[in-house]
Amino acid sequence: MGSLLEIKNLSKTFDNKKILDNVNLNIEKGRIIGLLGKNGAGKSTLIKLINDLLTADEGGVILFKGKKLGVYSKEHISYLPERTYLDKGMKVSDVIKFFKDFYSNFDEKKAYALLKDLNLDSDIRISKMSKGMQEKLQLILVMSRDADLYILDEPLSGVDPATRDYILDTILSNFKEGSSIIISTHLISDIERILDDVVFIDKGKVVISSSADELRTKEKASIDDIFRREFKC
């Protein structure tokens, strides 16, 4: 079976510094993958490359369902970046309309239902919302798409436990069946129980890529423990 996402010889150099160093990775269909690494290990860089937000060094290849990045991959990848990216002048309802305008797989009803759970008024302007609220809105928008691959960059950093539960719940109960999720994080214990596969990244290189259960059985420890052991400061 072909991979959902295939990454070959991917490098990214910034100011003569290799942020990502010859990454090779296969993401299969129907898996939840943890992209794990310390801050600055290259997780975000890898994710931005997959989303066409950075240009790769010569020779790097990213194939989504066998196709080069472009309109097709963007239609079927739903990406939650670390930052708030909505037009601050828009209302919530405008933003939903915007998503509906551009993404044919965006489920407007689902988005409104999820907003209702949050008690978020759709007439409110983005600029009037707290950063935490904007992040939740973005999560709702991203999870309201029937995508083949969801890429969530640090969805849990800097949130309180209640919000963390809300975020994990929203992800698990809304992603399209049979699709894959890549979650990048440095807070592993919070999410390791939902991971099928783990990819450890350090200093721009993939150091471990394995099924989570195989790794646990092999090392007789939790992913979090293995991570701490592997990347001791």
């Binding site: 066409d52 950075l54 240009t55 472009g70 963007k74 990216y85 002048g89 915007f98």
Partner: protein, 261 residues
Amino acid sequence: MLKKLFKYDFIWINKIMIIYYIILLVISILTKTVESMNQTFLLLIIDKILSSMFIGCAISVIITTFMRIWARFLVNNYKDESYLTHTLPVTKNQIFNSKILAGITSILISTLVIVGCIALIYLNANNWEFLKAMFESLVQAYSKFTAVSYIVGLIVLVILELFYIMFAGILGLVIGHRSNNHKILKSVIFGFISYMVLLVLSFVIVGITSSFTDSSLIYNGFPPVSTMKAIGLTFVIIYIIYNISHYLLAKHLFNKGVNVE
């Protein structure tokens, strides 16, 4: 998809412009009203104030139009919003073209509004006679056809010049954002350089063209038809080439991909 992109780009640029248009229109109507009343000393002063307000407002309409076009390009393509823009299921070409189209239409609208307001204030029977007289003196100097094409050419040139300013700024932004630091400073420098270099170049070319002209042919202070035609045409061609080359170069560089912060 281009249509949808254009809609959002156009609205973003013009939601601020509309306020300027309304202010300009209000000033025009006030000026017109004041001028149509009996001219007392007080009204004369008010008239002068309104006129200078009108000029100031018209200039700021032009400046703000450019600022909004460039700001849209910058914020939507390279700032936080870029994370959404570049992950939309559209091509880089569509993103680029939509912003250029929105820019061009906004410039045209601003120009039209300003010209319309000027006409509203100043176009009365007397002025109309004056314009006609000016036209006629031109017609005397040249053939009728040339006079009209002279005016049309001038308008085309002004609009091409406005487009060119926009393209220079956008090329500057695209080049500036290819590097990793001092992006805005580099954008401004590249934009300014590309504008100045080609401006100087165009004067050189026009200088060369006119140097071929026999100065003895000057009639009533008007250069001969052939020279005016040649200079006008050269300018128009130069500007069209500038605009197209700037457009293609900026689009080509933009298509190579972005590197967001």
